[in-house]
Amino acid sequence: MLTTRQVDAYHALTVVAPGIVERFRPGHFVGVAVGGPHTSMLTRRAFSIHDVKPDYGGTVEFVFAVNGPGTAWLAGRRARDTLDLVGPLGRPFPLPRDPVNCVMVGGEYGSAMLFAVADALQRRGCRVDFVLGAASADRVFGAMRARRMGETTTLTTEDGSLGMRGRVTDVLPGVIADVRADAVYACGPMEMLRGVTDVAVEFDIPVQVAVEERMACGIGVCMTCVLPVIGDDGVTRMVRSCVEGPVFRGERVRFDDVGTIPFDALGAPGGGSRNVG
Protein backbone atom coordinates (compact mmCIF):
# COMPACT_ATOMS: atom_id res chain seq x y z
CA MET A 1 0.00 0.00 0.00
CA LEU A 2 1.16 3.49 -0.66
CA THR A 3 -0.79 6.25 0.98
CA THR A 4 -3.82 6.90 3.06
CA ARG A 5 -5.78 10.09 3.35
CA GLN A 6 -8.97 11.30 4.88
CA VAL A 7 -11.48 13.31 2.86
CA ASP A 8 -14.27 14.71 4.99
CA ALA A 9 -16.29 11.71 6.15
CA TYR A 10 -14.31 9.33 3.96
CA HIS A 11 -11.01 7.53 3.89
CA ALA A 12 -9.07 7.10 0.69
CA LEU A 13 -6.46 4.40 0.18
CA THR A 14 -4.03 4.29 -2.71
CA VAL A 15 -2.51 0.91 -3.43
CA VAL A 16 0.17 -0.15 -5.88
CA ALA A 17 -1.53 -2.72 -8.09
CA PRO A 18 -0.20 -2.69 -11.65
CA GLY A 19 -2.16 -5.81 -12.64
CA ILE A 20 -5.42 -4.10 -11.80
CA VAL A 21 -4.55 -0.80 -13.43
CA GLU A 22 -3.69 -2.53 -16.69
CA ARG A 23 -7.19 -3.90 -17.11
CA PHE A 24 -9.12 -1.09 -15.42
CA ARG A 25 -12.17 0.45 -17.02
CA PRO A 26 -14.49 2.92 -15.32
CA GLY A 27 -17.09 1.16 -13.19
CA HIS A 28 -14.83 -1.66 -12.07
CA PHE A 29 -14.48 -2.50 -8.41
CA VAL A 30 -11.97 -4.35 -6.24
CA GLY A 31 -12.35 -6.98 -3.53
CA VAL A 32 -10.26 -6.15 -0.50
CA ALA A 33 -9.27 -8.66 2.18
CA VAL A 34 -9.70 -7.20 5.67
CA GLY A 35 -8.41 -8.04 9.12
CA GLY A 36 -4.95 -9.39 8.33
CA PRO A 37 -3.72 -12.95 8.87
CA HIS A 38 -5.88 -15.13 11.13
CA THR A 39 -8.72 -12.67 11.00
CA SER A 40 -12.23 -13.87 11.75
CA MET A 41 -13.55 -11.85 8.78
CA LEU A 42 -13.77 -14.20 5.82
CA THR A 43 -15.20 -12.16 2.99
CA ARG A 44 -13.59 -9.48 0.91
CA ARG A 45 -15.10 -6.01 0.96
CA ALA A 46 -16.11 -4.48 -2.37
CA PHE A 47 -15.03 -0.94 -3.25
CA SER A 48 -15.45 0.93 -6.49
CA ILE A 49 -12.24 2.12 -8.01
CA HIS A 50 -12.06 5.87 -7.67
CA ASP A 51 -8.90 6.56 -9.56
CA VAL A 52 -5.96 4.84 -11.21
CA LYS A 53 -2.55 6.46 -11.72
CA PRO A 54 0.58 5.31 -13.53
CA ASP A 55 2.89 5.93 -10.52
CA TYR A 56 4.92 2.95 -9.28
CA GLY A 57 3.80 0.84 -12.22
CA GLY A 58 0.16 1.59 -11.49
CA THR A 59 -1.85 2.59 -8.42
CA VAL A 60 -5.51 2.19 -7.57
CA GLU A 61 -7.39 4.51 -5.24
CA PHE A 62 -10.67 3.73 -3.52
CA VAL A 63 -12.76 5.79 -1.15
CA PHE A 64 -14.79 4.40 1.70
CA ALA A 65 -16.88 5.21 4.71
CA VAL A 66 -16.47 3.32 7.97
CA ASN A 67 -19.49 1.11 8.19
CA GLY A 68 -18.55 -1.93 10.24
CA PRO A 69 -15.53 -3.89 11.45
CA GLY A 70 -14.00 -4.43 8.01
CA THR A 71 -14.00 -0.80 6.99
CA ALA A 72 -12.91 0.18 10.52
CA TRP A 73 -9.88 -2.07 10.08
CA LEU A 74 -9.14 -0.51 6.70
CA ALA A 75 -9.36 2.96 8.20
CA GLY A 76 -6.62 1.95 10.62
CA ARG A 77 -4.12 1.05 7.89
CA ARG A 78 -1.00 3.15 7.72
CA ALA A 79 1.31 4.14 4.90
CA ARG A 80 3.42 1.23 3.70
CA ASP A 81 1.18 -1.48 5.12
CA THR A 82 0.30 -4.04 2.49
CA LEU A 83 -3.20 -4.82 1.31
CA ASP A 84 -4.60 -7.86 -0.49
CA LEU A 85 -6.74 -6.87 -3.49
CA VAL A 86 -8.54 -8.87 -6.16
CA GLY A 87 -9.65 -7.07 -9.30
CA PRO A 88 -10.65 -5.42 -11.42
CA LEU A 89 -14.09 -6.95 -10.92
CA GLY A 90 -17.49 -6.34 -12.45
CA ARG A 91 -18.78 -5.08 -15.77
CA PRO A 92 -17.69 -1.50 -16.44
CA PHE A 93 -19.91 1.32 -17.69
CA PRO A 94 -20.72 1.13 -21.40
CA LEU A 95 -19.65 4.34 -23.12
CA PRO A 96 -21.54 5.96 -25.98
CA ARG A 97 -19.91 6.06 -29.41
CA ASP A 98 -21.03 9.59 -30.14
CA PRO A 99 -20.20 12.80 -28.29
CA VAL A 100 -23.41 13.16 -26.29
CA ASN A 101 -24.40 15.10 -23.19
CA CYS A 102 -24.10 13.08 -20.02
CA VAL A 103 -25.25 13.83 -16.48
CA MET A 104 -23.30 12.11 -13.70
CA VAL A 105 -25.38 11.57 -10.58
CA GLY A 106 -23.59 10.53 -7.42
CA GLY A 107 -24.85 9.91 -3.91
CA GLU A 108 -22.56 9.69 -0.87
CA TYR A 109 -19.35 7.76 -1.69
CA GLY A 110 -21.05 6.64 -4.92
CA SER A 111 -19.68 9.81 -6.53
CA ALA A 112 -16.16 8.43 -6.22
CA MET A 113 -16.42 6.05 -9.17
CA LEU A 114 -17.97 8.65 -11.50
CA PHE A 115 -14.87 10.71 -12.20
CA ALA A 116 -13.14 7.97 -14.16
CA VAL A 117 -16.34 7.60 -16.20
CA ALA A 118 -16.57 11.33 -16.74
CA ASP A 119 -12.97 11.41 -17.83
CA ALA A 120 -13.54 8.66 -20.42
CA LEU A 121 -16.67 10.43 -21.65
CA GLN A 122 -14.87 13.73 -22.01
CA ARG A 123 -12.12 12.07 -23.99
CA ARG A 124 -14.82 10.96 -26.39
CA GLY A 125 -15.99 14.53 -26.65
CA CYS A 126 -19.00 14.19 -24.40
CA ARG A 127 -20.26 17.06 -22.33
CA VAL A 128 -20.37 16.14 -18.66
CA ASP A 129 -22.44 17.71 -15.89
CA PHE A 130 -22.50 16.63 -12.26
CA VAL A 131 -25.24 16.26 -9.69
CA LEU A 132 -23.86 15.14 -6.34
CA GLY A 133 -25.75 14.70 -3.13
CA ALA A 134 -25.54 13.34 0.36
CA ALA A 135 -27.07 13.65 3.80
CA SER A 136 -24.72 16.44 4.83
CA ALA A 137 -21.84 18.51 3.46
CA ASP A 138 -19.06 16.30 4.81
CA ARG A 139 -20.60 13.27 3.09
CA VAL A 140 -20.68 14.82 -0.41
CA PHE A 141 -17.66 13.32 -2.10
CA GLY A 142 -15.71 15.05 -4.88
CA ALA A 143 -17.50 18.39 -5.14
CA MET A 144 -14.26 20.23 -5.97
CA ARG A 145 -13.24 17.77 -8.63
CA ALA A 146 -16.73 17.86 -10.13
CA ARG A 147 -16.54 21.63 -10.33
CA ARG A 148 -13.24 21.35 -12.16
CA MET A 149 -14.40 18.67 -14.59
CA GLY A 150 -18.07 19.32 -15.20
CA GLU A 151 -19.67 22.01 -17.29
CA THR A 152 -21.98 22.53 -14.35
CA THR A 153 -22.12 20.98 -10.91
CA THR A 154 -25.22 20.87 -8.74
CA LEU A 155 -24.93 19.83 -5.12
CA THR A 156 -27.66 18.75 -2.75
CA THR A 157 -27.68 17.88 0.93
CA GLU A 158 -30.58 16.68 2.98
CA ASP A 159 -29.73 19.07 5.80
CA GLY A 160 -28.98 21.97 3.46
CA SER A 161 -25.40 22.29 4.72
CA LEU A 162 -24.10 22.43 1.14
CA GLY A 163 -25.84 23.30 -2.15
CA MET A 164 -29.59 22.86 -2.36
CA ARG A 165 -31.54 21.34 0.49
CA GLY A 166 -33.02 18.06 -0.73
CA ARG A 167 -32.08 15.10 -2.81
CA VAL A 168 -30.40 14.69 -6.18
CA THR A 169 -33.73 13.63 -7.67
CA ASP A 170 -35.21 17.00 -6.76
CA VAL A 171 -32.77 18.84 -8.99
CA LEU A 172 -32.09 16.21 -11.64
CA PRO A 173 -35.07 17.02 -13.91
CA GLY A 174 -33.95 20.64 -14.09
CA VAL A 175 -30.37 19.69 -14.94
CA ILE A 176 -31.44 17.19 -17.58
CA ALA A 177 -33.64 19.80 -19.20
CA ASP A 178 -31.05 22.58 -18.96
CA VAL A 179 -28.17 20.63 -20.45
CA ARG A 180 -30.35 18.65 -22.86
CA ALA A 181 -28.89 15.47 -21.48
CA ASP A 182 -28.74 12.40 -23.69
CA ALA A 183 -27.79 9.96 -20.97
CA VAL A 184 -27.49 9.61 -17.21
CA TYR A 185 -24.80 7.75 -15.22
CA ALA A 186 -25.58 7.14 -11.60
CA CYS A 187 -24.05 5.55 -8.54
CA GLY A 188 -25.25 5.74 -4.98
CA PRO A 189 -27.73 4.16 -2.57
CA MET A 190 -30.41 1.92 -4.11
CA GLU A 191 -33.17 4.34 -3.15
CA MET A 192 -31.41 7.11 -5.08
CA LEU A 193 -30.83 4.89 -8.12
CA ARG A 194 -34.49 4.09 -8.21
CA GLY A 195 -35.38 7.80 -8.17
CA VAL A 196 -32.79 8.68 -10.79
CA THR A 197 -34.05 5.90 -13.03
CA ASP A 198 -37.61 7.20 -12.71
CA VAL A 199 -36.49 10.65 -13.77
CA ALA A 200 -34.52 9.35 -16.75
CA VAL A 201 -37.43 7.16 -17.85
CA GLU A 202 -39.66 10.20 -17.70
CA PHE A 203 -37.27 12.08 -19.99
CA ASP A 204 -36.93 8.92 -22.08
CA ILE A 205 -33.14 8.93 -21.98
CA PRO A 206 -30.91 5.97 -21.17
CA VAL A 207 -29.63 5.63 -17.62
CA GLN A 208 -26.77 3.45 -16.43
CA VAL A 209 -26.72 2.67 -12.72
CA ALA A 210 -24.08 0.97 -10.60
CA VAL A 211 -25.85 -0.99 -7.87
CA GLU A 212 -24.66 -2.26 -4.51
CA GLU A 213 -25.69 -5.66 -3.14
CA ARG A 214 -24.09 -7.73 -0.37
CA MET A 215 -21.37 -9.79 -1.99
CA ALA A 216 -19.55 -12.79 -0.61
CA CYS A 217 -17.25 -13.48 -3.57
CA GLY A 218 -17.37 -10.71 -6.18
CA ILE A 219 -16.43 -13.20 -8.91
CA GLY A 220 -19.75 -14.78 -9.75
CA VAL A 221 -19.58 -18.08 -7.90
CA CYS A 222 -21.56 -17.62 -4.69
CA MET A 223 -24.94 -16.33 -5.94
CA THR A 224 -25.48 -14.04 -2.97
CA CYS A 225 -25.49 -10.69 -4.79
CA VAL A 226 -28.53 -11.15 -6.99
CA LEU A 227 -31.29 -8.73 -7.86
CA PRO A 228 -34.25 -8.95 -10.23
CA VAL A 229 -33.36 -7.63 -13.68
CA ILE A 230 -35.43 -7.81 -16.84
CA GLY A 231 -33.57 -9.43 -19.73
CA ASP A 232 -33.67 -8.62 -23.45
CA ASP A 233 -36.33 -11.32 -23.77
CA GLY A 234 -38.55 -9.56 -21.24
CA VAL A 235 -38.02 -12.26 -18.64
CA THR A 236 -37.01 -11.26 -15.11
CA ARG A 237 -34.05 -13.19 -13.75
CA MET A 238 -32.20 -13.03 -10.46
CA VAL A 239 -28.88 -11.87 -11.85
CA ARG A 240 -25.55 -11.49 -10.10
CA SER A 241 -24.59 -7.90 -9.56
CA CYS A 242 -20.88 -8.76 -9.34
CA VAL A 243 -20.35 -10.24 -12.79
CA GLU A 244 -23.48 -9.26 -14.72
CA GLY A 245 -23.31 -5.86 -12.97
CA PRO A 246 -22.75 -3.81 -10.93
CA VAL A 247 -23.64 -1.58 -13.89
CA PHE A 248 -27.11 -2.11 -15.33
CA ARG A 249 -29.49 -0.14 -17.52
CA GLY A 250 -31.63 1.47 -14.86
CA GLU A 251 -34.97 0.66 -16.41
CA ARG A 252 -34.09 -3.03 -16.46
CA VAL A 253 -33.62 -3.21 -12.68
CA ARG A 254 -36.82 -3.93 -10.77
CA PHE A 255 -35.98 -1.62 -7.90
CA ASP A 256 -39.34 -2.11 -6.21
CA ASP A 257 -38.68 -5.81 -6.02
CA VAL A 258 -35.10 -5.76 -4.78
CA GLY A 259 -34.92 -7.99 -1.73
CA THR A 260 -37.72 -10.22 -3.00
CA ILE A 261 -38.13 -12.90 -5.62
CA PRO A 262 -40.80 -11.43 -7.91
CA PHE A 263 -43.48 -14.02 -8.60
CA ASP A 264 -42.86 -13.76 -12.33
CA ALA A 265 -39.09 -14.20 -12.11
CA LEU A 266 -37.61 -17.22 -13.84
CA GLY A 267 -37.67 -20.09 -11.33
CA ALA A 268 -39.68 -18.21 -8.72
CA PRO A 269 -41.04 -20.54 -6.07
CA GLY A 270 -44.27 -22.17 -7.08
CA GLY A 271 -44.12 -25.53 -5.36
CA GLY A 272 -42.90 -23.86 -2.20
CA SER A 273 -39.79 -25.98 -1.94
CA ARG A 274 -37.24 -24.50 0.37
CA ASN A 275 -33.58 -25.29 0.70
CA VAL A 276 -30.73 -24.74 3.05
CA GLY A 277 -28.00 -24.83 0.41
Partner: protein, 324 residues
Protein backbone atom coordinates in the same frame (compact mmCIF):
# COMPACT_ATOMS: atom_id res chain seq x y z
CA UNK B 1 10.41 -35.24 -3.76
CA UNK B 2 7.12 -35.43 -5.57
CA UNK B 3 4.08 -37.09 -4.10
CA UNK B 4 1.71 -39.39 -5.93
CA UNK B 5 -1.46 -37.44 -5.23
CA UNK B 6 -3.88 -39.74 -7.07
CA UNK B 7 -6.97 -40.75 -5.19
CA UNK B 8 -10.12 -42.76 -5.82
CA UNK B 9 -13.84 -42.30 -5.48
CA UNK B 10 -14.91 -45.88 -5.89
CA UNK B 11 -13.47 -46.84 -9.27
CA UNK B 12 -13.06 -43.29 -10.46
CA UNK B 13 -9.52 -42.01 -10.30
CA UNK B 14 -8.91 -38.35 -9.53
CA UNK B 15 -5.53 -36.85 -10.40
CA UNK B 16 -5.43 -35.30 -6.95
CA UNK B 17 -7.68 -34.96 -3.92
CA UNK B 18 -8.64 -31.29 -4.21
CA UNK B 19 -12.14 -30.67 -5.56
CA UNK B 20 -14.51 -27.72 -5.40
CA UNK B 21 -17.47 -27.85 -3.02
CA UNK B 22 -20.98 -27.94 -4.45
CA UNK B 23 -22.46 -24.52 -5.02
CA UNK B 24 -19.15 -22.70 -4.58
CA UNK B 25 -17.72 -22.79 -8.09
CA UNK B 26 -20.58 -21.35 -10.15
CA UNK B 27 -20.88 -23.04 -13.53
CA UNK B 28 -17.11 -23.50 -13.77
CA UNK B 29 -16.64 -20.77 -16.34
CA UNK B 30 -16.21 -18.10 -13.67
CA UNK B 31 -13.28 -19.87 -12.00
CA UNK B 32 -11.78 -20.86 -15.34
CA UNK B 33 -10.82 -17.22 -15.79
CA UNK B 34 -8.46 -17.61 -12.86
CA UNK B 35 -6.92 -21.06 -13.38
CA UNK B 36 -7.08 -24.24 -15.43
CA UNK B 37 -9.85 -26.37 -13.92
CA UNK B 38 -8.22 -29.45 -15.42
CA UNK B 39 -5.54 -29.22 -12.74
CA UNK B 40 -7.80 -29.97 -9.79
CA UNK B 41 -9.17 -33.36 -8.84
CA UNK B 42 -12.70 -32.48 -9.88
CA UNK B 43 -15.19 -29.68 -10.07
CA UNK B 44 -18.44 -30.20 -8.20
CA UNK B 45 -21.42 -28.39 -9.69
CA UNK B 46 -24.01 -26.53 -7.67
CA UNK B 47 -26.93 -28.77 -6.78
CA UNK B 48 -28.92 -29.19 -9.96
CA UNK B 49 -32.70 -29.28 -9.64
CA UNK B 50 -35.37 -30.38 -12.11
CA UNK B 51 -36.88 -26.94 -12.67
CA UNK B 52 -35.06 -23.61 -12.83
CA UNK B 53 -34.98 -21.99 -9.39
CA UNK B 54 -34.76 -18.30 -8.55
CA UNK B 55 -33.59 -19.07 -5.02
CA UNK B 56 -34.17 -17.03 -1.88
CA UNK B 57 -34.56 -13.27 -1.50
CA UNK B 58 -31.62 -11.09 -0.53
CA UNK B 59 -29.80 -10.51 1.75
CA UNK B 60 -28.55 -14.01 1.19
CA UNK B 61 -25.28 -13.75 3.08
CA UNK B 62 -23.98 -12.60 6.41
CA UNK B 63 -20.54 -12.86 7.84
CA UNK B 64 -20.06 -14.48 11.26
CA UNK B 65 -16.85 -15.06 13.21
CA UNK B 66 -14.66 -17.19 10.93
CA UNK B 67 -17.82 -18.19 9.14
CA UNK B 68 -20.32 -17.28 6.50
CA UNK B 69 -24.06 -17.73 6.56
CA UNK B 70 -25.74 -18.23 3.22
CA UNK B 71 -29.27 -18.76 2.08
CA UNK B 72 -29.01 -18.98 -1.69
CA UNK B 73 -31.79 -21.54 -1.97
CA UNK B 74 -30.30 -23.57 -4.81
CA UNK B 75 -30.69 -20.88 -7.42
CA UNK B 76 -29.95 -22.49 -10.74
CA UNK B 77 -31.06 -22.97 -14.32
CA UNK B 78 -32.68 -26.41 -13.92
CA UNK B 79 -31.48 -29.70 -15.33
CA UNK B 80 -32.38 -29.00 -18.96
CA UNK B 81 -30.31 -25.85 -19.21
CA UNK B 82 -27.56 -27.54 -17.20
CA UNK B 83 -27.37 -30.44 -19.65
CA UNK B 84 -27.70 -28.19 -22.65
CA UNK B 85 -25.04 -25.66 -21.70
CA UNK B 86 -23.07 -26.10 -18.49
CA UNK B 87 -22.17 -29.77 -18.56
CA UNK B 88 -21.07 -29.78 -22.23
CA UNK B 89 -18.89 -26.76 -21.55
CA UNK B 90 -17.13 -28.70 -18.79
CA UNK B 91 -17.00 -31.96 -20.78
CA UNK B 92 -15.43 -30.27 -23.79
CA UNK B 93 -12.60 -29.10 -21.58
CA UNK B 94 -12.13 -32.54 -20.02
CA UNK B 95 -12.83 -31.17 -16.58
CA UNK B 96 -13.65 -34.03 -14.20
CA UNK B 97 -17.12 -33.16 -13.00
CA UNK B 98 -19.05 -34.32 -9.98
CA UNK B 99 -22.67 -33.40 -10.54
CA UNK B 100 -24.57 -32.48 -7.40
CA UNK B 101 -28.32 -33.02 -7.42
CA UNK B 102 -31.04 -31.70 -5.13
CA UNK B 103 -34.73 -32.52 -4.90
CA UNK B 104 -37.80 -32.26 -2.73
CA UNK B 105 -38.97 -35.86 -3.16
CA UNK B 106 -37.39 -39.23 -3.77
CA UNK B 107 -38.99 -39.18 -7.20
CA UNK B 108 -37.33 -35.89 -8.06
CA UNK B 109 -33.87 -37.16 -7.15
CA UNK B 110 -34.52 -40.29 -9.16
CA UNK B 111 -35.69 -38.33 -12.17
CA UNK B 112 -32.56 -36.20 -12.00
CA UNK B 113 -30.35 -39.26 -11.85
CA UNK B 114 -32.12 -40.63 -14.91
CA UNK B 115 -31.51 -37.41 -16.81
CA UNK B 116 -27.80 -37.55 -15.96
CA UNK B 117 -27.50 -41.14 -17.05
CA UNK B 118 -26.86 -40.54 -20.74
CA UNK B 119 -24.98 -37.30 -20.28
CA UNK B 120 -21.30 -37.57 -21.09
CA UNK B 121 -18.77 -36.21 -18.64
CA UNK B 122 -20.34 -37.13 -15.30
CA UNK B 123 -17.50 -38.48 -13.15
CA UNK B 124 -19.77 -38.98 -10.15
CA UNK B 125 -23.12 -37.91 -8.79
CA UNK B 126 -23.25 -36.24 -5.41
CA UNK B 127 -26.65 -36.37 -3.75
CA UNK B 128 -27.28 -33.26 -1.69
CA UNK B 129 -29.40 -34.67 1.12
CA UNK B 130 -29.77 -31.31 2.88
CA UNK B 131 -32.97 -30.57 1.02
CA UNK B 132 -36.34 -30.46 2.71
CA UNK B 133 -38.52 -33.44 2.08
CA UNK B 134 -41.79 -31.98 0.85
CA UNK B 135 -43.56 -35.22 1.66
CA UNK B 136 -42.43 -35.12 5.29
CA UNK B 137 -43.31 -31.63 6.47
CA UNK B 138 -40.13 -30.20 5.03
CA UNK B 139 -37.85 -32.23 7.28
CA UNK B 140 -34.42 -32.30 5.72
CA UNK B 141 -33.57 -35.77 4.35
CA UNK B 142 -30.05 -35.71 5.82
CA UNK B 143 -31.32 -35.61 9.40
CA UNK B 144 -32.47 -39.12 9.22
CA UNK B 145 -30.87 -42.39 8.08
CA UNK B 146 -33.98 -43.94 6.61
CA UNK B 147 -34.98 -40.92 4.53
CA UNK B 148 -31.41 -40.52 3.26
CA UNK B 149 -31.08 -44.18 2.41
CA UNK B 150 -34.30 -44.14 0.44
CA UNK B 151 -33.02 -41.32 -1.76
CA UNK B 152 -29.64 -42.98 -2.23
CA UNK B 153 -31.09 -46.37 -3.07
CA UNK B 154 -33.36 -44.89 -5.72
CA UNK B 155 -30.58 -42.86 -7.27
CA UNK B 156 -28.21 -45.83 -7.19
CA UNK B 157 -30.82 -48.02 -8.83
CA UNK B 158 -31.17 -45.83 -11.91
CA UNK B 159 -27.63 -44.52 -12.21
CA UNK B 160 -25.15 -46.18 -14.55
CA UNK B 161 -23.07 -48.75 -12.64
CA UNK B 162 -19.79 -47.02 -13.45
CA UNK B 163 -20.83 -43.64 -12.04
CA UNK B 164 -20.25 -43.55 -8.27
CA UNK B 165 -23.06 -42.18 -6.15
CA UNK B 166 -21.83 -39.96 -3.34
CA UNK B 167 -24.14 -39.21 -0.40
CA UNK B 168 -23.60 -35.73 1.00
CA UNK B 169 -24.31 -35.60 4.71
CA UNK B 170 -25.09 -32.84 7.17
CA UNK B 171 -23.88 -32.52 10.76
CA UNK B 172 -27.40 -31.52 11.83
CA UNK B 173 -28.32 -34.98 12.97
CA UNK B 174 -28.22 -36.91 16.21
CA UNK B 175 -25.60 -39.33 14.91
CA UNK B 176 -23.70 -38.91 11.68
CA UNK B 177 -22.52 -42.52 11.73
CA UNK B 178 -26.07 -43.85 11.68
CA UNK B 179 -26.91 -41.74 8.65
CA UNK B 180 -23.64 -42.63 6.93
CA UNK B 181 -24.17 -46.33 7.49
CA UNK B 182 -27.73 -46.13 6.21
CA UNK B 183 -26.52 -44.43 3.03
CA UNK B 184 -23.82 -47.02 2.45
CA UNK B 185 -26.30 -49.80 3.04
CA UNK B 186 -28.57 -48.04 0.56
CA UNK B 187 -25.85 -48.23 -2.07
CA UNK B 188 -23.72 -45.10 -1.68
CA UNK B 189 -20.26 -45.64 -3.16
CA UNK B 190 -18.79 -42.74 -1.26
CA UNK B 191 -19.77 -40.13 1.31
CA UNK B 192 -19.20 -36.43 1.36
CA UNK B 193 -19.37 -34.28 4.47
CA UNK B 194 -20.21 -31.83 5.75
CA UNK B 195 -22.94 -29.77 4.24
CA UNK B 196 -23.66 -26.52 6.07
CA UNK B 197 -25.17 -26.78 9.53
CA UNK B 198 -28.12 -24.45 9.98
CA UNK B 199 -27.25 -21.15 11.60
CA UNK B 200 -28.56 -17.66 12.06
CA UNK B 201 -27.48 -14.19 12.92
CA UNK B 202 -29.44 -11.16 13.92
CA UNK B 203 -28.68 -7.63 12.86
CA UNK B 204 -28.67 -5.68 16.10
CA UNK B 205 -29.30 -2.41 14.23
CA UNK B 206 -32.51 -3.46 12.51
CA UNK B 207 -33.21 -5.98 15.31
CA UNK B 208 -34.20 -8.49 12.61
CA UNK B 209 -32.51 -11.58 11.15
CA UNK B 210 -29.56 -10.68 8.91
CA UNK B 211 -30.74 -13.00 6.17
CA UNK B 212 -34.03 -12.53 4.39
CA UNK B 213 -34.62 -16.25 4.82
CA UNK B 214 -34.05 -16.02 8.57
CA UNK B 215 -31.79 -19.03 8.90
CA UNK B 216 -28.97 -20.04 6.58
CA UNK B 217 -26.18 -22.53 6.16
CA UNK B 218 -22.96 -21.93 8.08
CA UNK B 219 -19.68 -22.52 6.25
CA UNK B 220 -16.04 -21.59 6.61
CA UNK B 221 -13.35 -22.34 9.22
CA UNK B 222 -15.86 -21.95 12.06
CA UNK B 223 -17.38 -25.33 11.13
CA UNK B 224 -14.11 -27.14 10.45
CA UNK B 225 -13.97 -28.80 13.89
CA UNK B 226 -17.47 -30.19 13.32
CA UNK B 227 -16.50 -31.41 9.86
CA UNK B 228 -13.26 -33.06 10.96
CA UNK B 229 -15.15 -34.77 13.77
CA UNK B 230 -17.77 -36.12 11.33
CA UNK B 231 -15.11 -37.44 8.96
CA UNK B 232 -13.24 -38.98 11.88
CA UNK B 233 -16.29 -40.73 13.29
CA UNK B 234 -17.45 -42.08 9.94
CA UNK B 235 -13.97 -43.23 8.97
CA UNK B 236 -13.68 -45.07 12.27
CA UNK B 237 -17.02 -46.81 11.74
CA UNK B 238 -16.74 -47.44 7.99
CA UNK B 239 -13.02 -47.55 7.21
CA UNK B 240 -13.36 -48.71 3.61
CA UNK B 241 -15.83 -46.11 2.35
CA UNK B 242 -14.24 -43.22 0.43
CA UNK B 243 -14.97 -39.85 2.05
CA UNK B 244 -14.84 -36.38 0.53
CA UNK B 245 -14.11 -34.07 3.46
CA UNK B 246 -15.06 -30.41 3.50
CA UNK B 247 -15.88 -27.52 5.75
CA UNK B 248 -13.62 -24.54 6.25
CA UNK B 249 -10.61 -25.60 4.23
CA UNK B 250 -8.52 -22.48 3.61
CA UNK B 251 -5.02 -23.96 3.39
CA UNK B 252 -3.12 -27.14 2.69
CA UNK B 253 -2.80 -27.64 6.42
CA UNK B 254 -6.58 -27.65 6.73
CA UNK B 255 -6.91 -30.14 3.86
CA UNK B 256 -4.29 -32.33 5.52
CA UNK B 257 -6.39 -32.36 8.69
CA UNK B 258 -9.24 -33.93 6.72
CA UNK B 259 -6.95 -36.43 4.99
CA UNK B 260 -5.47 -37.49 8.33
CA UNK B 261 -8.99 -37.86 9.71
CA UNK B 262 -9.82 -40.22 6.89
CA UNK B 263 -10.94 -38.28 3.83
CA UNK B 264 -9.53 -39.38 0.48
CA UNK B 265 -10.52 -36.11 -1.17
CA UNK B 266 -11.08 -32.61 0.15
CA UNK B 267 -13.46 -29.99 -1.15
CA UNK B 268 -12.81 -26.26 -1.07
CA UNK B 269 -15.88 -24.04 -0.81
CA UNK B 270 -16.03 -20.73 1.02
CA UNK B 271 -12.28 -20.24 0.58
CA UNK B 272 -12.93 -19.70 -3.14
CA UNK B 273 -14.87 -16.57 -2.30
CA UNK B 274 -11.81 -15.08 -0.73
CA UNK B 275 -9.16 -16.51 -3.02
CA UNK B 276 -10.20 -17.64 -6.50
CA UNK B 277 -6.90 -19.53 -6.73
CA UNK B 278 -7.52 -21.37 -3.45
CA UNK B 279 -7.77 -24.86 -4.96
CA UNK B 280 -4.35 -24.84 -6.57
CA UNK B 281 -2.76 -23.23 -3.53
CA UNK B 282 -4.33 -25.79 -1.20
CA UNK B 283 -3.14 -28.58 -3.50
CA UNK B 284 0.43 -27.29 -3.57
CA UNK B 285 0.54 -26.71 0.19
CA UNK B 286 -0.92 -30.16 0.86
CA UNK B 287 1.61 -31.85 -1.38
CA UNK B 288 4.42 -30.02 0.38
CA UNK B 289 3.18 -31.06 3.81
CA UNK B 290 2.86 -34.69 2.80
CA UNK B 291 6.31 -34.66 1.24
CA UNK B 292 7.82 -32.90 4.27
CA UNK B 293 6.63 -35.78 6.44
CA UNK B 294 8.44 -38.27 4.26
CA UNK B 295 5.59 -39.76 2.31
CA UNK B 296 5.53 -40.27 -1.42
CA UNK B 297 1.91 -41.33 -1.79
CA UNK B 298 -1.18 -39.53 -0.58
CA UNK B 299 -2.80 -42.93 -0.11
CA UNK B 300 -0.41 -43.65 2.75
CA UNK B 301 -1.54 -40.75 4.91
CA UNK B 302 -5.30 -41.10 4.50
CA UNK B 303 -6.75 -41.76 7.94
CA UNK B 304 -3.32 -41.83 9.57
CA UNK B 305 -4.53 -40.00 12.68
CA UNK B 306 -6.50 -43.11 13.60
CA UNK B 307 -3.35 -45.01 14.53
CA UNK B 308 -2.88 -45.48 18.29
CA UNK B 309 -0.90 -42.56 19.78
CA UNK B 310 2.23 -44.61 20.48
CA UNK B 311 2.44 -46.25 17.05
CA UNK B 312 5.22 -45.16 14.78
CA UNK B 313 4.19 -43.89 11.40
CA UNK B 314 5.43 -45.98 8.54
CA UNK B 315 7.18 -43.77 6.11
CA UNK B 316 6.65 -45.05 2.63
CA UNK B 317 10.17 -44.04 1.79
CA UNK B 318 11.29 -46.97 3.94
CA UNK B 319 9.83 -49.35 1.39
CA UNK B 320 10.25 -50.15 -2.22
CA UNK B 321 7.57 -48.47 -4.24
CA UNK B 322 5.20 -51.11 -5.53
CA UNK B 323 3.88 -50.43 -9.03
CA UNK B 324 0.25 -49.50 -8.65
Amino acid sequence: MSVDMRTYLGHVELANPVVTAAGCAGSGAELAQFFDLGRIGALTTRSITMAPRAGRPTPRMAETPSGLLNAVGLQGPGVDAFLARELPWLAQRNIRTVVSIGGGTVAEYTALARRLNDAPGVAAVEVNLSCPNIEDRGRVFARDGAASAEVIASVRAVMRYDVPVVAKLSPDTADIVTVARACVDGGADALSMINNPLGMSIDTETMLPSLAAGTGGLSGPAVRPLAVRCVWQVRAALPTVPIIGMGGVLTGRDAFEFILAGACAVAVGTALFHDPYACLRVLRELEELVAARGYTRLADVIGLAHRPPGATTRHRTDFEESPL
